[in-house]
């Protein structure tokens, strides 16, 4: 993973990140649906660091507590995550 840098961004990015957390939170409701194949454990909410173009920040996502595999749903990838990517690209 690339070196993490504290993000210094305006309110817009912060608002979006808040949204990402919200959406991620919604996914969390589906925790008992998903299971890590290798570890046989249910995917549980956990702190994950996501990063792009030198900016990193922590979010809560569904992950396997043993191997660390993280689930990114379609809704998150094409919704708020894409929005953050675009915002960072224009920074």
């Amino acid at each position: 993973m690339s070196s993490t840098m504290l993000i210094r961004t305006g309110w817009k990015l912060r608002a979006i990140i808040k949204d990402v957390k919200k959406v991620a939170g919604k996914d969390l409701g589906a925790e008992n649906i998903f299971e890590c194949f290798k570890c046989g454990l249910p995917m549980e909410p956990g702190k994950v660091t996501v990063s792009y173009l030198g900016s990193s920040f922590p979010v809560e996502l569904l992950k396997c507590r043993q191997c660390g595999l993280v689930l990114i749903t379609e809704e998150l990838a094409l919704g708020k995550m894409l929005e953050v990517e675009k915002t960072l690209e224009d920074k």
Binding site: F37, V50, K63, L69, A77, E89, D90
Partner: protein, 774 residues
């Protein structure tokens, strides 16, 4: 480009220049806004606009000698707009009081104004408005001078009195019966006041001081209206002589007031005064296609316009603007402004260090097609600006990676081991010619590459080599200057190794790239060759009909190509319909400049606009034009489809291959030609992922196409997930979710194993890196 060059570029766009009427008006009334309000029936607002540049609007509105009308562009399509009559209707029918004048704190330097005619009134008005104590010396017992000679039915006496009364409200001291030269001499004025304005009219009896020319007029500096005497300025009838013009007198008074203000503030009298008084505007306004309309005639000419008549007449105003480029370009219209502003935005975008780069999308959305330059009277070229900007963005590390990532990877694939090929003709040790079909024709219709190559080897005796690869256009379009140079260098090197043959190009973009960047290589388009050497005998059964030609934007200046294409179609028996925008002014298909990848929605709009320009089937000689139009439901044929008689006009539009298929087509073309023409043993190394058999519903393929996800991306994810066990199971439906990041994109696939393959339910991607998944 440095700052000065950017400014010069901005200046080329004339959209912000005033319309001809405003420029011709000595005080620059905003006629366009005025008529717009009149047209909307907002006479009060129209009067406010008029008053902004015209003091004593009630007087001028009734008597203006309207030089604006001679300049009005409406005159090229019917009569000029009756601006003076509209102003008269406005001031007569509007009773709104003028906005209250708030005066600045009084200044201590005093000004004398000699003469209460229009120019003196205007000078006194403006100087008092700036806070100078003004004393106005009037020879008679009333203000207005020559205005009193106007017929009363044109200019009612009461109007002169009420309009000029504003000066007293502004604190101007008026001394009646005070002829300068009698009551007070000019030298006395000069010693008592800090500055003097002489507006005593043409009958002024010269006092010792200002120089007088042979016609008896005061000799003045044309810009500042300064006389030879320090601090003494003059204008109005003194300057113009007997050609009395109310609006010029008003303008003189205002201009002299500017000079006096500057004189008293001890700043330059001459700086930045280019466009005072009447001048020629640079604003370009086309009246092409404007329906000629005569002026609205007032029912009662003595009365002038009624309210309704005035509204109608104002409706004839063309509201002059340029927008020549915006009218013909979906991209320029999409961002809702015009090039001058775009240039400012782009320049600013390049300068930002911290903060949002709001113009990235603007910069990356241009197709670089150059149509704007063709239609602009000043040759403004957005493509040039966007090219420079993209290169600079990339250099500074500020280019959004998502904009061009996919086509650049596609280029790398085309120029990689799997697709690239350079060979002499089989059985030849040298080449007089080298066929360069281009990566998109190879991707879209590899069969055409084979047919064209067979044709060429049959026509030239000196050996026709073949070079399969991409010309590097995506690198150039995406601002990757270094990468583009490397691609060109590779082509140059291989071309030299081939003995420097003449290049035959099937793709307009390649043609453009070679012509601009590899001038040492002699090039010719495939279409010229077909036209000159004769068409092959086609086995097809197509019946010629009417077609409209989609000229390629990258060869808009290549007349010989346009001509060859038309000649070929004629020989084939087709009837040709010329699209309204063709040849030099043709439109891009949405692929140019990588618009399709940087701004999909806009590219769709561009394509939809173009395919609606004619009901006829289109014939294109660029594979991307063909595929883009066909994909949106327009019957479009490649010229090679017609040359080889392969077009079936009865069939609905034939979609081109998707992105995965395009790659496969290129790779297969190389292998097929190697096997069949050069009899090479082709050793194919299959990567593990290629053994992953996919079962893909059409809907999923469509989604992947839209999301720029290749079949091989999905195969790689599944191969990785199945090999490592890194996958997630959805207990509700048994689907597997897995991801893999082979490039700077993470691909997710939702799938289910089935027999010896995998059913793909969904695929999506993100660029963010997720800790734990890498």
């Amino acid at each position: 480009m440095d700052h000065k060059q950017w400014r010069e570029y901005e200046e080329r766009c004339t959209q912000e220049r005033p319309p001809a009427c405003t420029a011709a008006c000595p005080v620059h009334v905003d006629v366009r806004s005025f008529t717009a309000e009149m047209k909307a029936g907002n006479f009060n607002r129209a009067l406010d606009i008029f008053r902004k540049t015209v003091p004593f609007a009630g007087i001028i509105g009734r008597i203006c000698d309207h030089p604006c009308q001679a300049a009005c562009r409406r005159g090229e399509a019917g009569d000029p707009v009756s601006i003076a009559a509209l102003e008269k209707a406005c001031v007569e029918m509007t009773s709104a009081p003028p906005a209250k004048i708030t005066l600045p704190p009084k200044k201590d330097r005093r000004v004398a104004v000699a003469g209460g005619g229009l120019s003196g009134l205007a000078a006194a008005f403006d100087l008092a408005g700036k806070g100078y104590p003004v004393v106005l010396f009037e020879a008679t017992d009333r203000l207005g001078g020559g205005l009193w000679e106007m017929p009363a039915e044109v200019l009612p006496r009461q109007i002169i009195l009420t309009e000029t009364a504003v000066l007293e409200q502004m604190g101007v001291e008026i001394r009646y019966q005070a002829t300068v030269g009698q009551v007070i001499s000019l030298p006395e004025l000069c010693s008592e006041y800090d500055a003097v304005y002489l507006g005593t009219g043409e009958n002024f009896k010269p006092v010792p001081g200002p120089e007088i020319d042979q016609a008896g007029r005061c000799r003045l500096d044309p810009v500042t209206l300064a006389t030879g005497l320090n601090g003494v300025f003059a204008g109005g009838g003194l300057r113009t002589g007997p050609d009395y013009s109310p609006i010029n007198s008003l303008s003189d008074g205002r201009r002299a007031a500017i000079s006096i203000d500057r004189f008293l503030q001890k700043v330059s009298l001459t700086a930045v005064r280019e466009n005072e008084g009447p001048y020629q505007t640079r604003l370009f306004t086309s009246t092409k296609g404007v329906e000629p309309l005569p002026a609205v005639a007032p029912g009662n000419p003595a009365q002038g316009y009624t309210r309704e008549e005035a509204v109608l007449e104002a409706g004839r105003c063309l509201a002059c603007q340029c927008l020549e480029c915006v009218k013909v370009c979906e991209y320029l219209a999409h961002f809702k402004s015009y090039p001058k502003k775009y240039a400012r935005d782009i320049n600013q975008n390049l300068k930002i260090v911290m903060g949002v780069h709001g113009a990235n999308n603007l910069i990356n959305s241009c197709s670089l097609c150059g149509l704007c330059r063709e239609v602009c009277p000043e040759n403004f070229d957005m493509a040039e600006l966007c090219r420079v900007a993209r290169a600079e963005m990339f250099k500074k590390g500020k280019m959004p990676p998502s904009a061009h990532d996919f086509p650049l990877r596609d280029m790398a694939f085309s120029n990689g081991e799997q697709c690239a090929l350079t060979r002499h003709q089989s059985g030849h040790a040298s080449s007089s010619h080298l066929f360069f079909p281009g990566c998109q024709l190879s991707a879209s219709a590899p069969g055409h590459v084979e047919r064209a190559y067979a044709y060429l080897t049959g026509r030239f005796a000196g050996g026709v080599g073949l070079m399969l690869r991409c010309c590097g256009a995506p690198a150039e379009w995406s601002g990757r200057t270094g990468l583009f140079a490397a691609e060109l260098q590779e082509i140059r090197k291989q071309w030299r190794e081939m003995g420097g043959p003449r290049l035959i190009l099937a793709c307009s973009t390649c043609y453009r790239m070679f012509k601009s960047h590899l001038p040492e290589i002699e090039i010719v388009s495939l279409w010229e060759i077909y036209d000159q050497l004769g068409l092959p005998e086609a086995a097809g059964t197509q019946k010629p009909g009417l077609v409209a030609i989609q000229d390629a934007c990258t060869t808009r200046h290549e007349k010989q190509i346009h001509q060859s294409v038309r000649s070929i179609l004629q020989k084939l028996g087709f009837k040709i319909e010329e699209l309204p925008a063709s040849r030099e002014t043709t439109e891009c298909c949405g692929y140019g400049g990588l618009m399709l990848f940087a701004n999909r929605k806009l590219a769709d709009d561009v394509i939809n606009r173009r395919i609606r320009e004619s009901a006829a089937g289109y014939v294109a000689y660029c594979a991307m034009c063909r595929d883009n139009f066909s994909a949106r439901g327009k019957k479009t044929y490649h010229l090679l489809d017609l040359i080889y008689g392969l077009a079936d006009f009865a069939l609905p539009p034939q979609k081109g291959p998707g992105y995965s298929q395009r790659r496969e087509n290129r790779a297969r073309l190389k292998n097929k030609l190697l096997k069949e023409i050069w009899r090479d043993q082709v050793v194919q190394h299959e990567s593990a992922f290629e053994n992953i058999k996919l079962i893909m519903p059409a809907a999923v393929s469509g989604v992947m196409e839209e999301r720029l996800i290749l079949k091989e991306d999905v195969q790689k994810v599944i191969e990785y997930a199945e090999r490592t066990g890194n996958k997630i199971i959805n207990r509700n439906n048994g689907h597997i979710m897995a991801c893999h990041r082979p490039v700077s994109v993470t691909y997710w696939v939702e799938y289910t194993p089935q027999a010896d393959g995998f059913v793909v339910h969904n695929a999506y991607s993100h660029r963010m890196e997720v800790e734990g998944n890498n």
